[in-house]
């Protein structure tokens, strides 16, 4: 019976998350907790993005961050990765899915790519 214990703040929060191919996904900005039927509390999902980091930081700065993120992403809720997609915990958190499978994760990245980066001519060639 494995009794591995870990502290949420030390081992999970602010850790780098990578996908199954090792690509950078983001940081663990917060954790979603759920109450199970036996009365137990379990970690339900990893939350990422300014809508998660902002409220965690709190205060006025946190509020700005949350609002900025919500406006850019056009969504109030943070990016959510359920624990069932987490393959490995360690120095990095490794997922069992691809970064492209995570809903809304690449939205801002893709928006900027299409509306800013692609508008500027030249640019090093994408090898992908």
């Amino acid at each position: 019976m494995s009794e591995e214990t870990l502290d949420a703040g030390l081992a999970l929060l602010d850790r780098q998350v990578v996908d199954i191919d090792g690509k950078l996904v983001g940081k663990v900005d917060d954790l979603e907790l759920a109450i199970r039927r036996g009365g137990e509390i379990e970690v339900e999902a990893i939350l990422m993005g300014p809508q998660a980091l902002g409220p965690r930081l709190g205060g006025r700065v946190g509020g700005w961050i949350r609002r900025l993120g919500a406006t850019l992403a056009d969504a109030e809720e943070p990016i959510r990765v359920p624990m069932k997609h987490v393959k490995e915990l360690g120095v990095r958190i490794t997922l069992s899915i691809k970064v492209t499978d995570i809903e809304r994760l690449l939205d801002v990245e893709q928006w900027l790519r299409d509306h800013v980066i692609r508008k500027i001519p030249g640019g090093r060639d994408a090898s992908e």
Binding site: G9, L13, D14, R15, Q16, V17, K23, L24, V25, G26, K27, D29, M48, L53, R56, L57, V61, V91, V108, E109, Q110, W111, L112, R113, V116, I117, R118, I120, G122, G123, R124, D125, A126, S127, E128
Partner: protein, 409 residues
């Protein structure tokens, strides 16, 4: 044979890259004003940055994580974000100084006012970031930066009293007309000019991006242990040259032209040309380094995709941030802010922020969970702990000294 060549090239690039406008201005200014009495600080700073850089490089190679990635992880979201803001700000400020530095170098050569060159330099930097193959570029201006050694050679030409110089270097004292607070203020300036945080961020990012792992530790160490000290010799050379030529004439360094005067006295036009090439190359290299470093700090903190080899379309947030930072820095430079004063402020603030990135790296370097067998040994920890005191003292004294001396007046 090829390996030695690559290693040599790496070291040369490191030396050339080591110099930036902060070093140039600081060394000349302090040499002119304090003579040889602050050379010991350069020695202290070189040991410090060698140790810090080795640690950050080792941590990056073993953990595949960069400085700001780890700072957030170990300090938490709030402290990490504060740290990030301060570091980004200082690095961006340094970028402004470097932009001005390149423009000033061109002004030295062409006699056309530097402000007219600033937008061109910024555009060139954008082009390199946007399109050009980074590694060859890095090598070119790294090697060209070596022509700054004309300052060192100038010392021989100026035929100094070596015995007396050695004595002055090893017996520092507060020169007449200066107080202990200005002495301390400029000691911190000197420390900040050589122990530049952005360089460590850039180096650790490079280690991760190149995929250098534990096998490359030997090469990383050689790079550091040879590169930085030689850079230190160059820095001391500029101080000595200023001491020999500027101090006796009572010339203070308020413009870039004064920093090259010693070389002109020693070698005339040829010396000037070499100095200008060296300054241009070194500061342009630093424009790119500070620009990318400022982007890296943010990208690593938030976990975005990043990299100098990445095609911009694949790392949009990072690329947009880099462009915005460059535009902002250009705008600030164009306000005609005094570049020399700005440079002093930038290196001073850099010194003040050192503990916040240095201490977390030192702690991670001691954590077996991250480092495995590559944890700090006795030497690294002894040196490491000494420098905790050094950088903390500098940070604590920074604000009071700034006020007391009215920014070094």
């Amino acid at each position: 044979m090829k390996k030695i060549l690559t290693l040599a090239l790496g070291i040369l690039t490191a030396i050339g890259g080591f110099m930036d406008i902060g070093d140039l201005v600081t060394d000349a200014l302090i040499g002119a004003r304090f003579g040889l009495n602050l050379v010991w600080v350069t020695v202290v700073a070189v040991i410090g940055i060698t140790a810090y850089s080795e640690m950050a490089g080792r941590v990056a190679a073993v953990t595949e994580r960069t400085v700001f990635d780890l700072v957030r992880e170990r300090l938490g979201a709030t402290a990490g974000l504060l740290n990030l803001s301060a570091s980004y700000f200082v690095t961006a400020l340094t970028l402004v100084a470097e932009l001005c530095g390149v423009a000033l170098a061109i002004q030295l050569a062409t006699d056309v006012h530097y402000l007219l060159w600033v937008p061109l330099v910024a555009f060139l930097a954008f082009l390199v970031f946007w399109k050009m193959p980074f590694q060859p570029m890095e090598r070119i201006y790294g090697v060209l930066g070596l022509s700054l050694f004309v300052f060192v050679i100038a010392i021989w030409q100026l035929d100094p009293d070596w015995g007396r110089m050695m004595h002055d270097v090893t017996h520092p004292q507060i020169p007449p007309g200066e107080g202990i607070s200005t002495f301390a203020f400029y000691a911190i300036v000197m420390l900040g000019a050589q122990m530049t945080p952005y360089e460590v961020f850039f180096f650790s990012s490079g280690v991760v991006e190149h995929g250098w792992s534990a096998e490359k530790l030997g090469e990383i160490r050689v790079n550091n242990l040879i590169g930085y000290p030689i850079g230190g010799i160059l820095a001391i050379g500029i101080q000595v040259a200023a001491y020999l030529v500027l101090q006796p004439r009572g010339i203070e360094v308020a413009h870039l032209s004064e920093t090259v005067l010693p070389v002109v006295v020693a070698f005339g036009k040829l010396g000037l040309a070499l100095a200008i090439i060296g300054i241009f190359a070194a500061t342009f290299g630093s424009v790119l380094e500070t620009l990318l470093s400022s982007g890296y700090t943010v990208a690593h903190h938030f976990g975005w995709r990043w990299g100098k080899f990445e095609a911009p379309v694949n790392a949009s947030r990072f690329s947009v941030l880099v462009i915005v930072t460059l535009l902002g820095a250009t705008a600030v430079a164009l306000t005609a802010i005094d570049p020399i004063k700005l440079t002093i402020y930038a290196v001073y603030l850099g010194a003040a922020t050192l503990p916040f990135t240095y201490i977390p790296i030192l702690i991670v370097a001691n954590d077996e969970r991250y480092m495995g067998e590559h944890v700090n040994g006795r030497l690294a920890n002894t040196v490491g702990t000494i420098y905790v005191f050094v950088v903390s003292a500098a940070a604590i004294l920074a604000l009071p000294l700034l006020i007391i001396t009215k920014a070094g007046a």
